[in-house]
């Protein structure tokens, strides 16, 4: 399997990373995700990394990149389910993922995306109608 499934929930996209990523896979994911955001007009992207036990600087950078790309496409990115050990490792590596929103689990992540979308809802009203 060298493709990561992207699921659509309402106007959110859910990406669950469950295997170790390598360069090719990351590129494919970024490609697929940006295409899907535009195609589905998604407002939020949720990346679930609760099964990842090791997150290195490469994945950290990829998460940052995805967040930046989504932001350009007018979608918020929330990373959910990070394990304590992973969080400590990332901080020690100096990767604080400052451009990415975080939540404890998928449920809280969805609530956060909902809140973030609602916060700048006014300029979205036109898009919601169609």
């Amino acid at each position: 399997m060298d493709q990561i499934p992207i699921m659509k929930i309402g106007d959110c996209l859910l990406v669950s990373i469950q295997v170790d990523m390598h360069d090719r896979m990351a590129m494919t994911l970024q490609d697929d995700l940006t295409t899907r955001i535009v195609a589905t007009r998604a407002r939020g992207v949720m990346i679930d990394i609760s099964t990842l036990e090791i997150v290195d600087s490469f994945i950290g950078r990829m998460l940052n990149n995805i967040a930046a790309m989504s932001r350009v496409l007018d979608a918020v990115t929330v990373v959910v389910g990070m394990r304590p050990a992973v969080a400590i490792t990332l901080v020690e590596l100096g990767l604080t993922l400052s451009g990415v929103k975080t939540a404890l689990d998928v449920e809280k992540g969805l609530a956060l995306i909902r809140r973030l979308i609602d916060d700048d809802g006014e300029d979205m009203s036109g898009r919601r109608e169609d």
């Binding site: 992973v86 969080a87 975080t102 809280k108």
Partner: protein, 300 residues
């Protein structure tokens, strides 16, 4: 001649055990100014040690006090030394236990073999070497006991000083007490993150009322903890920054990038508001509760 000396020391210890033990215990009493109960204990220990020494001198080699022959003598020394280490004696006072044996022992030696100066010299030299080695061993054990005490206290401190308490559903608090060094930060961070997972907390209040100083290093540790909690999806609030610490932080240019509140209560109120809750005063019941301390402070 080692064999001759050995036999004569063990013989002397055998023949004059009573006298040596009595004089030795006396010398120690004078040295330590101990109480009556401890006197008996001292005499008992002195007796055991002399017995151990005799057993060792009979078979063992003087150069190697780590051998099995000296096990009994070493056991007594270990007991005395760790006991004194725990009671707060100095290393010299512990080593005195062995060194004060020299006086009584040499008295006996001088009386018994004093007519033969050459032999006396040899005997005294052998006995001195032996007792010096045992004395050094005492100091070693003393130091080890002290180090064990320190290590245990450090561990206890580490465990005691990093509690994470749940204040409300979704709100945890971390009251930090004492200086933050790297190893403590590690423990604090792990505890906090684990508690965030366990309770599903969205907000963590870090109270630094008990942190004596905040320098750049401590600030860096705080920032790490805050970043890690953020990665787990929890927002951090800081409370209890004291005036001096506020000044230092500004002078050092430390920026934590979090909301800070003067007191834990203030941070808690904000946390409740952020999670969509508020505290409502109940008429009657609350008024009485709040009124009591006011009346007390008024009368004082």
């Amino acid at each position: 001649m080692p064999p001759k000396i050995k036999s004569s020391l063990s013989r002397l210890l055998d023949d004059f055990e009573e006298e040596i033990v009595r004089n030795w215990a006396g010398a120690q009493k004078a040295e330590l100014k101990s109480g009556q109960g401890e006197d008996q204990q001292l005499s008992a220990l002195a007796r055991r040690f002399v017995a151990g020494l005799r057993a060792g001198a009979e078979k063992g080699r003087f150069e190697n006090i780590r051998g099995d022959e000296w096990a009994e003598a070493r056991a007594v020394l270990e007991e005395v030394s760790s006991d004194r280490a725990l009671k707060g004696f100095t290393p010299s006072e512990s080593a005195t236990f062995v060194f004060s044996l020299k006086g009584p022992l040499f008295d006996v030696l001088r009386r018994e073999v004093g007519k033969d100066p050459e032999r006396l010299g040899e005997e005294v030299w052998a006995a001195t070497l032996l007792l010096d080695r045992l004395g050094l061993y005492t100091v070693e054990v003393f130091q080890k006991s002290r180090e064990a005490v320190i290590a245990r206290q450090q561990e206890e401190l580490l465990e005691l000083s990093t509690p994470v308490v749940q204040l409300w559903q979704g709100i945890v608090a971390l009251p930090l007490i004492g200086t933050l060094d790297s190893s403590r930060t590690q423990v604090v961070m792990e505890n906090l993150l684990q508690e965030i997972v366990n309770t599903g907390a969205a907000i963590a209040i870090i109270d630094i009322t008990g942190v004596p100083t905040v320098d750049t290093l401590v600030a860096q540790h705080l920032i790490k903890t805050i970043s890690a909690a953020r990665l787990m999806g929890a927002e951090c609030l800081i409370s209890g920054i004291r005036p001096q610490i506020a000044q230092t932080m500004v002078h050092l240019g430390v920026e934590l990038n979090v909301i800070s509140k003067a007191t834990m209560a203030g941070a808690f109120a904000l946390a409740l508001r952020k999670t969509g809750r508020k505290v409502v005063e109940q008429n009657g019941v609350e008024a009485v509760k709040l009124g009591a301390p006011k009346a007390a402070s008024g009368s004082a």
